[in-house]
Subunit: 228 residues, 2 copies
């Protein structure tokens, strides 16, 4: 089973077709999750989530009551906690719901500390084990995560650019078969190689590294944000 | 001398009062810099930058001609290069213009690999030496950088929250005198402690750590982005 989770990031950075993505998912029987305020934002889109997780301290009482009246599985997190709401959600969907892959929406923008938590939680060993099954999408970016190994990374439709981000120390990082090459690069701290492109008439590049966690950020330019 | 640089990030994430910030800066005789497309965006705001740096490959020929006709100091970077345009700009303003501090605008949002470059370039030793003199501002975040040491971090007006981000491995990180405390935390990889708050009637918290580079992200909630 696939899963789609909406977090509390600003509406204007959501993918333009978020409503279609979620409606199609629900029709397919995929799992829909709201994380904290994301639960209420889903209901504003007329999508009742299957699961809502959070401390819900950003919701007004009538908003929370609406979630409790409509969502089958509501799980309350402790505001002072070891795992963030997003981390708790990831553990829950993979361990209790046995989903095969998870798409995170509403995970970018807004308060930058929140966004960085959503990006760097993948280094937490409790979450890292699921990193290669999780994709993060907003209006102009799609992010996938890779643990040490060798990969043929396929071009994503509509995203002309990609960046490679070592989220921690990395050993012998190689980007081959792309416009800008990198060979056996090692670093003790995060390094980001931005604005790379696929070669004409190719549909993948080769990514290889011996240690570290790497995010590949597929991106496109857009004229301005949309109002959803 | 103070300096203000506009990068190419999306307009809608700029501080709402960017025009007032830059007009006041120019009146004070501060240095105004455009980085790549940021040079043209400044001119669209009717602000002629003192310095423009970039490979300018995102500008159309008449746009670049306008920059060359109006800006006193135009420096061209090599598109295949060791330093990004932002890094080259930082070196130039501190080494050639001897500025005392620098505010980065237009450094957030948009293509996430670009934003991460702007945030993690501070780990590059060539840039890190200036980290404590640089502030990054957008419509709802203000970011300052700290190298190992002990600091009283003052509350910033209008920003009720703060997060503390270890951008690399960190040793004995302490957040004291704040709503959520952290004592002697060490990590081999980046960790972000989000959504902290100042204690009532206090105007600072204590930040202490023995190694690593730490970003303090001051933030506020906003209803939606503005059109500038």
């Amino acid at each position: 089973m696939k899963a789609y989770a909406l977090l509390g990031g600003p509406r204007q950075l959501w993918p333009k077709n978020i409503k279609e993505i979620l409606t199609a998912a629900q029709r397919n029987g995929d799992l829909i999750i709201g994380v904290d305020r994301g639960s209420f934002l889903l209901e504003e889109l007329n999508i009742i989530p299957d699961l809502a997780i959070g401390d819900f301290d950003s919701l007004k009482q009538p908003e929370l009551s609406q979630i409790e009246a409509t969502v089958k599985d509501v799980r309350y997190s402790n505001p002072v906690k070891d795992l963030t709401d997003s981390e708790l959600m990831i553990q829950t969907v993979f361990k209790d719901y046995y989903v095969s892959d998870l798409t995170l929406l509403g995970a970018t923008g807004g308060r930058i500390d929140h966004f960085l938590v959503n990006l760097f939680m993948f280094l937490n060993p409790a979450i890292r084990q699921f990193a290669n099954q999780i994709t993060l999408i907003d209006c102009q970016n799609k992010i996938k995560f890779f643990d040490a190994g060798q990969y043929k990374v396929r071009k994503e439709n509509d995203y002309p650019y990609f960046g490679v981000a070592g989220l921690e120390s990395v050993k012998n990082l190689n980007i081959l078969g792309a416009r800008y090459l990198l060979e056996n690069f090692s670093s003790l701290y995060p390094r980001i190689f931005a604005s790379n492109e696929f070669l004409p008439n190719t549909h993948s590049f080769n990514l290889k590294f011996n240690s570290g966690l790497v995010a590949v950020i597929f991106s496109k330019d857009i004229d301005r944000f949309y109002n959803i």
